[in-house]
Symmetry: C2
Subunit: 433 residues, 2 copies
């Protein structure tokens, strides 16, 4: 005998969870498609050299890497952005530019196991490749908004920033060479607080005066005309900072014109994003009722996606939804669903001789648009009610000699306990739709 | 620079292929749910001991197996049935029996690379666990039929058999001990032909007379009352054979009562299925216009799914659709789709100053239910038409000063070349839905 168990950090999804996840994926896919983002698929397994070059040191340590049957050095993908870079380089001509794609798939990271963090998890990426247009930046934000709306989420804020603003500002302070460290430290501000950020900035050799200016800088956040006036003086610091602020202004112009509630986005100079490859707009999305879980959708603009594969510059902008984290957040807000079945109705079979009839009725109801499960054996009604309760069928429809002879069908609502009778299957199904 | 390439035997899907695949998955999921099959998810990676015990020698050789960061012996799943067995053993009480599940996911086999065979491929499984009811056997066949209908496939045949019939018949010939070899050899009949099967049966030590009887036996196939009369004499061979035939009769009784065209199923005594764990009804599904690709949906009844994990008997019945093979077959019949975008309309932007207006119109059309892509830059109309041609947008809607001032919008049908004008977005969207 083998013990039935999963690997530490890996997760099974029972029907109640998988139903929610699949429903979420369906709604997100539909939203992406509505904007013309097309799905693509890449393998879970790649040549390790494809993955390691763009991964940070930390990610390299976490890589599931091994030699395959042909002694090739292979690894499971740790994200979907590096495979996208490989994909775009490989099929550039077939695809045509610009290219809009989404990808929903699992990625693998051998992190230290901890609550809420898994070693295999689902990422939901959408990217707009091959254009510098500020419209594509605005559209990614629009897609984030529409995606969360599609999931019934209304209470969220997208915090925007632009790498160019911070890069230019750092240059104006004469510390442009420390920008990667600065971004890495600033990125931790919600976790470690302002004081600790100051200390770490000093530790990397930034003068106290500059640290004070940086701290003041990253405290800026807001929206609207007043805010753009407040930050306007920064434009004088550096040409790059000026461009960065103007790009945010252009994005605001587009977003203002769309029917998006302005409460959903603001500018926040503390948004840094740890990853090295961002070059322009960056964003993070917080669920306001549960900010502690961190950003559920993050992304930004990069100007050189394919740098490891090709000399040609390939700009793009995109975002990624951490699907497992988002679903965990929804469960924390709305509670965990206990529904284990997609069927609305259970046909309860009171007599094993009537099995055929039960299947016939089940098929007729399905043709009328109702999702129906037929209990596969004749059994006591009590047992079948308890089955429906366990699985979460909303209605039970008992079938015995009586129902078949009279052609009168009853439906018990398992939530209210009410029972209703119908003299045709059509009327019964109408009552359910 | 790293060469952008995939591993041999692994496949990327560009949008035209991924769109078809996702559409197929959506239709199949909907069908499974209509019958009360719920989705589940298990990890791609498992403890190797979970997988190796139930896999054949061949599969063990093909396993992607390695040691992880914690030096655990792990492997990528090679199918979804062994993980299902592990899952059912682990969550038996939470799930409640009977239990109906489907799972659509990727599996990995390090086979020798050859045309049309991949080392990572998508399986689409549906199983009905925890019941011996013949109704559940019939329902799996019904689900196969409805699944293929949902994909617009009408010209197919499901060939049914029952392991019990062959097992009993072999016992009556005194060669029950050779049954595994017999099934393995008979399973190859469409590939190697009758003569070669005879020869291989003789090679494993079966007497010529018995070989002749086996060859005659496996040549039986047909449907309906006449056929059941023809095979009735076999009932006298052995009690097991009798039970097997009677089970097929019961399945026919149920299927006859449903609105399934009887041309879609027949009995065929040569259907063996290679895998050891089947104990009852088995089936294979052939697309009649392209039989050479083999079965696109196969399965059967097993009486001891969880034998490696638990002493408790756990019966079930299920089938698996080889999604990649099925899609390849559809492409061979219908041709490969060249459509690279899910958007129906491309808004062509004639003036980069009008970008915001284009996004506003795009959003309005989406709210009216049309999937719309906005070209992200102002560009010449010719360039944008050629983009739409490459990507496969059905309609192009040019937006310039003129359209915005007059609020008259035109739509060019890229298939017919026709152009039509509308004095409101509502009318335009109505014409598309």
């Amino acid at each position: 005998m083998v013990v039935a168990r999963t690997l530490s950090g890996f997760k099974d999804r029972l029907p109640n969870e998988a139903l929610i996840k699949h429903d979420t994926i369906e709604k997100l896919s539909k939203t992406f498609k509505n904007f013309g983002f097309a799905p693509i698929e890449t393998p879970h397994l790649e040549y390790a050299e494809i993955l390691v070059k763009q991964g940070s040191d930390e990610i390299q340590k976490e890589l599931y890497r091994f030699n395959d049957h042909g002694d090739r050095d292979v690894a499971l993908r740790f994200d979907q952005t590096v495979p996208l870079a490989r994909f775009v380089s490989q099929y550039r001509n077939e695809l045509g530019m610009p290219f809009k794609r989404y990808a929903i798939g699992n990625v693998f990271r051998g992190e230290r196991a901890q609550k809420g963090r898994y070693r295999e998890f689902t990422q939901c990426d959408f990217d707009f490749i091959g254009t510098y247009s500020i419209g594509s930046d605005a559209e990614i934000i629009q897609v984030i908004v529409e995606s969360l709306y599609a999931l019934g989420i209304d209470d969220f804020t997208i915090a925007l920033n632009n790498r160019k603003i911070m890069n230019g500002f750092a240059a104006s302070l004469g510390i442009a060479d420390k920008i990667e460290d600065i971004l890495r430290i600033v990125d931790k501000i919600t976790k470690i607080g302002e004081e600790q950020v100051s200390q770490e900035l000093e530790e990397i050799g930034i003068a106290q005066e500059s640290v004070a200016k940086l701290i003041d800088f990253i405290s800026k956040n807001g929206s609207g005309v007043d805010f753009f006036e407040e930050i306007a003086p920064y434009k004088a610091c550096d040409a790059l900072t000026k461009t960065g602020i103007e790009e945010l202004e252009s994005i605001y112009e587009i977003l203002d014109l769309l029917d998006i509630d302005p409460k959903h986005y603001k500018i926040d100079f503390s948004i840094a994003r740890g990853l090295g490859y961002y070059t322009g707009v960056v964003y993070e999305t917080t669920l306001n009722r549960i900010p502690s879980i961190g950003s559920v959708c993050s992304g930004g603009r990069y100007d050189n996606l394919t740098q490891n594969f090709s000399k040609e510059l390939m700009p793009g902008v995109g975002a990624s939804i951490g699907l497992d984290r988002l679903i965990a957040a929804l469960e924390e807000i709305d509670g965990v669903s206990s529904r284990q079945t997609p069927a609305k109705v259970l046909i309860a079979n009171l007599d094993s001789n009537l099995l055929k009839e039960c299947y016939r009725i089940g098929e007729k109801l399905r043709a009328l648009g109702v999702a129906v499960e037929v209990y596969p054996e004749g059994a006591k009604l009590k047992k079948q009610f308890s089955y429906a309760n366990k699985k979460g069928h909303r209605y039970v429809m008992p079938i015995g000699e009586d129902e078949l002879q009279k052609e009168i069908y009853s439906l018990k609502d398992m939530e209210s306990g009410n029972q209703e009778s119908f003299d045709s299957l059509q009327k019964l199904s109408d009552s359910l739709l």
